[in-house]
Each structure stands twice: as C-alpha cells, then as structure tokens.
Subunit: 339 residues, 3 copies
C-alpha cells in the first residue's frame, strides 16, 4: 500500500521525488494495456465520477478512457448550468452527495481551489483535473514523464538538462506547474522566451532561482535554442486575455517550423506542446511540416497523459499491484502494430 491509497491528488506541491517516481513506475506498467497488447479488469465494477464543471473535451475523455482501460464504469457531468451549484448549493454538499455515487472522482472547475474545497466534503479520492488558473497536476506530471522518457533515449536524465519554454508564459498554466516539478531536480538551465507582456510570473522565476537553476530571459526565438534539450512551446491562451484584440497582438509571434528547427536546434531537441496547438494561419505556433519528425513528442505527450491518469486511478484505489491478476487477452483488432 502506498501513500496514495484513499488520498486526493490536488496539487503538485503535495508530491516529492519519491512519490513522483512511484507514479511514473506505475505509469510504465500501464503501457501494454494502453497499447492494447493485453487488457486488465482490475477495476471492473468500480465507478469514476468524471465531474467537469468546466467543459474540456480532451481532458474529460482522457480521464474517462483511462478508467475504462482499467475495466471501470464512468459517470459524467459537463458544465455548471444544470448542476445544483447554480441553485446555491455549497461545494461541500455537492461533494457529500456525488461522492456517494462513485469510487473515485476526477474534477475540473473554473475556480481556483474549488477542487480542494470539494475534496473536503468527498468520501472518495478526488483527482484535480484543473481548477481554473490554479493547477492542473496531471498535465504537469505527464509533461515531466514525457521529458524523462524522451531524454532517456539519448541517455540523459532530467538533472542537468536545458529546457526552453516559448510563447505565452504568463497565462500558460502548464509551464508554471512544470517549472515547479523541475525545481525538485538539479542543475537545470531554463531559457524563457516570450514577449515581455507575456513573461513568466515573478513567483515562478523566484522559485526557479531559489532552487539553484540558471535562467535566461529573452524575447527572441532564433539564436536562443542551440543548447536546448527540450523545446516546450505554448499556445497564446486567447480565452484568458481581456480582449481578442489584445490576444491578436501576440498570435503568430513565435513560430517553429521545419526550417527554423533545422537551423536553430540541435538535431535531437525534443519538441513538446501541451496541445491544442493553434494551426490557423494567423497563429500556427508549431507547423505541420514537423508532423513526421521523430523529435516531435507532442502526440506521445497525449499518450503519456493516459498512462499517468491510469496510474493515479490505480494508486488512489490501491490496485497497482493487482493489474496482472485481472489480465485478459485482447481479442479484437488493435492499433498496436501501427506504432
């Protein structure tokens, strides 16, 4: 039994390197099930309450499929309009009631700290699927997990690596949380590339510096990528800007394409992006001409998200050692051969 059994996963700040390693080890054990080489019914009969009070198709579907892949049922809700919260119910009451209906809950909500408040009323483990501007811990974990896996192909580890973060570093929640996780590691070089108006918040920079890492801050993409092992691109978070005009000023400011990559990056620099990328002509921060490049890790990131979420369900429900016991063969056509 791990520290996770019966616990909530609310913030990356509740994790240390040991517990992160535990999660990553279980995530690795999930690979054959996600690839459909075999399947497991370890959570057959269990129910996930997939409560998305703020819609997010991809994250919701990813949590739901992760649970299905372990054999469980999923009950969902999307949006706030028809929920009792709109009739003045407290998050505590909502949690007391809805947590009776499931064995574990994944929750997204537009308000910071709402998931924590909900968790206090819940009778079952709650996993934070994003609480507005605050945290999105499963995204941070899948990003770190991806970095670790990608660098291992070149024999590298996270300690000592060089990461360049590019784009909207102000509103891009994922770079904040990832930085926090990287602070637990040693001797990392950060290159932060953004317009001054969209630069990394001061508290994140302070955290990085206090952890003893090196930071370079610049507005220039070209010329600053040569040493990067990881290139982490972000979308301009238009929906968080005061106006569309304001957002438009920055769309298309930084663009990576095959030509720029070849000219300015090492040959094996890993390209990451939390997705969705904006592929409209006026934005296009990461061009489709890199789609078949072996260093493009963006779809492997999404795949890893599934593994991380499967791992967190297994750990909070304490079944991480029973996966094999409930294994079955996959008797249908599966995509594994294509990958």
């Amino acid at each position: 039994m791990t520290q996770f059994e019966g616990s909530h996963i609310l913030s990356v700040s509740q994790l240390d390197l040991d517990s992160i390693n535990t999660i990553f080890n279980v995530a690795n054990k999930m690979t054959p099930y996600a690839l459909r080489e075999k399947r497991t019914k370890v959570l057959e009969g269990a129910i996930l309450g997939n409560l998305f009070f703020e819609p997010s198709t991809r994250t919701r579907v990813s949590f739901g499929c992760a649970f299905n892949l372990l054999g469980g049922h999923v009950r969902e809700t999307t949006g706030m309009a028809s929920s009792s919260l709109s009739k003045g119910e407290s998050l505590y009451d909502t949690a007391r009631v809805l947590s009776t209906y499931s064995d574990v809950i994944a929750m997204r909500h537009p308000d910071a700290y709402s998931v924590k408040e909900f968790a206090e009323g819940s009778r079952v483990p709650v996993i934070n699927g994003g609480d507005g501007p605050n945290e999105h811990p499963t995204q941070a974990l899948l990003d770190l997990f991806t970095i670790k896996k990608e660098l291992s192909h070149s024999g590298m580890g996270i300690d000592g690596m060089h990461i360049a973060m590019v784009g909207d570093l102000k509103y891009g929640r994922t770079v904040h949380s990832l930085s926090r996780l990287l602070c637990m590691h040693k001797d990392i070089k950060f290159t932060l590339i953004s317009p001054t108006e969209l630069s990394m918040p001061d508290y994140v920079i302070a955290d990085i510096e206090n952890a003893g890492h090196k930071i370079t801050i610049t507005e220039q993409l070209e010329g600053n990528l040569h040493h990067a092992d990881i290139l982490y691109l972000t979308r301009i978070q238009e929906e968080r800007f005061p106006s569309q005009e304001e957002a438009n000023k920055y769309r298309g400011k930084f663009r990576l394409n095959h030509n720029i990559y070849t000219q300015h990056c090492k040959s094996n620099t890993v390209i990451m992006h939390p997705l969705p990328r904006d592929s409209r002509a006026q934005a296009n921060e990461l061009d489709n001409d890199l789609n078949s490049h072996p260093s493009l890790a963006i779809f492997r990131q999404a795949d890893n998200g599934l593994l991380i979420r499967m791992a967190l369900f297994a750990l909070t429900l304490g079944v991480e050692d029973q996966l094999e016991k409930y294994e079955c063969p996959v008797n249908w056509y599966s995509r594994k051969a294509d990958r």
Copy 2:
C-alpha cells in the same frame, strides 16, 4: 416474480403499502453493494437509457450509478435541443425508437404526464425521474424510506408519527408526493409551516384530512416544532416563481440552525431536506453548523436514493432474487471504513 417485472413506475398512486414494502425490502438488500462491501454483476450487459430531456445532474447521475452498481451499461441524453422532439416528433415515436436501444429507461421531462405518454410507446419499463410539476416518485419513495429507517432507530414506525413540513409547500413537488404516501399510513400529525402565499395546495390538504390525519397550519417556525419527529425542510423553488423579485420575498424566511434546533426541537428530531439546500447567505434555510449533528439525515437521504433506484431497476427487470448469484468481491480501496 413481482408485479413490477416489466412494468413502468410512473406515479406513487400506482403503489400500495404492500408494493412499497416490496421496494423497501429490495432497497435494504442493496445496502452492501452501495457501501462497496461486495459487488454484483446481475445486470452485466443490460443497458439503461437515461433520458433527461430536462437537465438534472444529481438525479441523472444517481440513476446512472445505481445501474452501474448492478453491473449494467448506461447510455444518456441531456436536454431537448438536439433531440428529435424539437423537430416535431411525437413522444410515442421517440419512445418506440429509443426503447429499442435499452432494457429499461429512466426519464425526466419538463412537461406533466409526458413520461406516461412516452411509456405508452416504450417496449421496455420506464421509470419516471420527474415529469415537471407533476411527479417525482423515486424522490417520494426515498423520503418515505428515510423516515422509516430514521424512526426505527428510536423504535418508532411511520404510523402515529408527527411530521413538520417547512418552507415552500406550494411549489415543492416533493412534499406533495410524500404527503400522498403518508396518507396510506395511520394517525399522522402534520404541521405545515409556510408563508400563506406558499402554502400547501388545497387538494393535498384534502387528501390528508380524508385519510384521517391531523393538520396544523401556521406561518411560524418557532414554537411549532416541539412535537415533531421529522422536520422536513424545503428550498424556495426560485425557478418556478413568476419573477426573481417574487422569489426573493420568501428567501431566508425560515431558517434552521443549531441554536434554533436545540431550543425548539426534541433532541432526536430527524432533519430532512430534498437537496440542494441553498447555502447562500440570503437564503440558508439549513445552516452548516448542523452538518455533524447525528439527527441531520439529509446526506443519508441521498444515499437512500441510490438504494431505491437500484431496487426499482432490479424489480422492473426481475432480478431481485439473483443479486447474490452474481456477487463478486470488491478488490479496490473503498470508502466503507469511513462511514
């Protein structure tokens, strides 16, 4: 085989004391599955059509989870906009088609008697999950079931008890249906506390009187609770008022908190509320300072709702005697220890 197998559950008026007892007995058998002490796959492979033409997160999720707890699949629809009903299709046609896709249907719809009309075209049993201002029989059943269980702790039964109903007795559908079920019992004292404008409809009062029960009608909370065994509070049903201003006149009119409870109620008066309660300062009909009071039964009500819905699925599908046959152990972390 009971009278329920293959039948619709449309109204409390189709039930008598015997059939209610049958439902309650099966609901009691559901307790260990809902508490996750063990599980049953009795409805593995069966499909619930969870058709919510009017959104209601909680009731929808409760029906869905009840079906999952019996091992079945759930297919859902929410809202009317994208349904064929908006293109002029009759409820009969909708029922003929959608009932081919499932083994049992739970349905909510904004129009009175719509569920009955739908049931006439359905090839499978239909359970009314609320048809607008008309009925919500599973809520009435869970309320009665809760009263019975709570009173049994003090060695009491429903016959001879004293119930105080408080708040919006005009628009609060649950107090109407519950009264109807209580009319089947003997020698009950009703204290009805509401503003004159929100008082219990005349036809409900007539039913209660015709059944030989005693009624006290008052606008005053304090001083009228001393003899109540059950205190049934309701929320002002703002959404049913002609205007928000009209609703605001009554918000916060009756409030129960720890102080008032201690001063005006017997020490074991059971506190019930159909939920959601409005916890905003201007309403707050039931204060959070009673949250840990042992007589607060509001969350046990919600738990009982799950048992009642499981029982109705088992009965309409005729599997109430096969639960044990399909039992399995629960191999994951479960909340049972916390309760």
Copy 3:
C-alpha cells in the same frame, strides 16, 4: 478476416455488392443479441469514441448502444463548443489525440468531408456517422437492409423492384445515399415525387439513369403510387432551408394516411421513413393512423440501424466470427416476448 478489419467506413462509394452482402450477413447474426435472446461479450474492454461534433441524439445513442450490446465501453462528446477544434486545432491533431483513447470511433461533424480528414489522422477505424450535407452511410445501409428484408417477405428481391421517393428530395441526404446503393442493383423503377423546387439533384438522377434504371418525376402523390413496392417518405428538412418561411411553403404538401394508402397503394407496399417524422398538424407527412399497419416499416428501420452498426463495429474490429465464443445468457426481463 474481411476487408473491413482495421478500415474506415466513410462513404457508400467504397462498397460493392459483395462487401454490402458481408455487412448484411453479419447484421443478421446480430439479431438475437439485439432482441436480447442472448448476449455476447466479444468486445468487453474495448472502447468506442462516440464523437458527435454535431449533436444528434438518436444516431449517437444508436451507435453507443450497438457498442454496449457487443460488451464494450463508450466515451462520448457532444457539440463543438468545448472542443479543441474551437481553439484552432486541426482535425488531424484532434484525431491523433482522441484516437489514442479508443479502439474505434463513430463520428458526426457538420462539415462535408470532415470525417474523412479526421480519419487520416486517426490510429483506429473511423465510422462516418454523418458529415453534414455529404454522407451518412450507416443510414443508407440500414435503408437498403430494410428494403431487402421487407421485400423478402413477399418473395421479392431488390433487383426489379419499384420504389417511390416522396417529399424533400433536395435536402434529404438519405434519399441521395440510398439511390447510390440502389444503382448497384438491376432494373429498378424510381418514382420521384416532390415539389419542383425540392426535386432530386441532377447528379443523382444522372447516376440512376446511367445505371440503366427507369425514372418517373412528378409533383403529384395520388395516382403515382399504384405500382410501388417501397414508399420512402421524407420530412421537410426545415433546418437546411434559408428561412422558416421558405420551409413552411412545403410543410404538409405530401401526406400519407390510412385512407390515401388504402386508395392509392398495393396492399403490401412497404412504408419507410428515415425518422424523425414531423407529427405536428401543419406537417404530419405520415399519419399516426397507420401506426399499427403491418406494412409500416419505420420502426423496423430503426431496429435495423442497430444491427447494421453492430455489424460495422464487429467487422472493423475483426470479431465477426467470435460472437458465439463470448456468448452469455440474458438473465433479466427482456422485451423479446412482446415482439
């Protein structure tokens, strides 16, 4: 292994008579499972991504139930608003990511050819559930399957039959696709009955003529039905008209009821309609007084849709020969006795 294993089903134009026969044979094998005489767990553990970027309750639920009937899980999305497509993501990216989460995808989208574009990025088979004005191949297949089954009761086949198509032949996508499938057969007589403004598009007429079939085009219902073996009625597709006023001009123009049927049709002319039918008084293209007529095949069409979708899932996932291997009895009340 058939040609379908691992393939997309995007258009009826990818099918020939042989492959259609393969689908129909598997669909026939699905009948006892759909009728609940027994069940199969052949796809237990598999996940359907039911992606409805344009809402359609009935088609979505039909795909989902078809997958549940084979034992699989269903993850869904409805509408476009909360999807990454609204943030500028390409269909290719959406497909790369979402196809990681499932074993097969059913997709509806408002734009023509969008499903094909999506399929190019997908790692798993994609079944077109309707791509706007373009195609809806499962509807066309279920229509043809229905014609074949219904005519076989009179010892007839599709070759040589006479079909009358009535109503909105311009915007009614189903009559276009069905015509395409009928073109693969021999010696069919088409009677096309519509207002001139809503007549069958020229390219469909050209296809029919090129295939050597006979066409009669008329604006008159009465007097043109005497020889029809199949009467295929359609709803005025109001939502595709430039204005409601424009649509109103044609509502109620053609109506079939018991009286007209008896007077103008052969005694066993099969009545079909893709549903929903508009039963409001001002439209009412197919009257309820025919509801119990044995030649009314409209609800059998919907039933057949389930069989066709089950067949396509089984074929694309290559399990069509394993259905019996994973059979189980149905242990609950089932509607089979009523049919």
